[in-house]
């Protein structure tokens, strides 16, 4: 659908990216930080699909990058949740403020 201007889609993905950045800056809980990272990765996916659709319709590279980003996001979420569960077992909390044993 080329009726939607490309700038509008880019506006949406930029706004979503910085919503994710805001969440990453303000949240203290590790699961909600992971959720912010998912939002950021998704906004990048929107960008890749839109550029592939509007500017480089003769190639499929944007689609491949999107697929690889989705795969890497899945792997990252699995490892992050394993770490979170392990941290909860040892500290009874998943706040980033309370886990500072390796800081100094």
């Amino acid at each position: 659908m080329t009726e939607i201007p490309l700038q509008h889609i880019l506006f949406l993905s930029t706004a979503l990216f910085f919503i994710g950045v805001y969440g990453f800056f303000t949240r203290k809980n590790m699961i909600t930080m992971l959720m912010s990272v998912e939002l950021i990765l998704n906004s990048v996916n929107i960008n890749f699909i839109a550029f592939n659709k509007y500017l480089f319709a003769d190639k499929l590279d944007g689609i491949f990058f999107t697929i690889f980003i989705i795969v890497i996001a899945a792997a990252e979420a699995a490892v992050a949740i394993a770490i979170i569960i392990n941290l909860y077992r040892s500290h009874k909390s998943i706040d980033v403020d309370e886990t500072n044993e390796m800081k100094y």
Partner: protein, 171 residues
């Protein structure tokens, strides 16, 4: 204003509202459900951009996989209905200012950049084309990243099991 544009604005509003509620909500389970709404909106946007394959992958992997995983880990680590500690006002303002400046700069660049579309003939973004180019070993094929990513997934799965496994104390 055509119907496509109206649907696009509705989807965009859904994505942005759900996304911002997801990063500001005080209850963690609600945040996860808002994240679900945002991801479904993004899948709808991919359908609107005529990318059915990516939209299906988005629903299967994100909505069916990652969000369910997040909700499971919420239930393993939180009492349900518990309010989270909210960030301090100073931190909120600092985060908002940083995000807003970044947004403003990126938006400025988008507005002042000419996007030139290619004139080459379009190719159809069908599953057949995607699959045959992804597993192509010739030039422009994506079989090497495909294999690397499969190794990465295997390593991540083994790593997740090793990290989350319960070690019994030795007697």
């Amino acid at each position: 204003m055509s119907i496509t544009l109206v649907i696009y604005y509705l989807l965009a509003a859904m994505i942005l509202v759900c996304g911002s509620l997801s990063v500001t909500s005080g209850k963690i389970f609600r945040a996860a459900v808002y994240l679900l709404g945002s991801l479904i909106g993004i899948a709808g946007l991919f359908f609107l951009l005529e990318n059915e394959f990516i939209a299906a992958v988005q629903i299967v992997v994100y909505v069916g996989g990652i969000v369910v995983l997040i909700i499971f880990s919420i239930f393993l680590t939180h009492k349900s209905g518990e309010e989270m500690k909210m960030p301090s006002t100073q931190r909120k303002i600092a985060g908002f200012v940083a995000a807003f400046i970044g947004f403003f700069l990126a938006h400025f660049l988008i507005h002042h950049n000419e996007f030139v579309a290619t004139n080459n003939p379009k190719i159809e973004q069908s599953v057949m084309n995607i699959g045959s180019q992804m597993l192509d070993t010739n030039k422009f094929g994506f079989v090497l990243p495909f294999e690397v990513v499969s190794m990465l997934l295997l390593a991540a799965m083994i790593g997740a099991i090793v990290i989350a496994i319960k070690v019994k104390p030795k007697e």
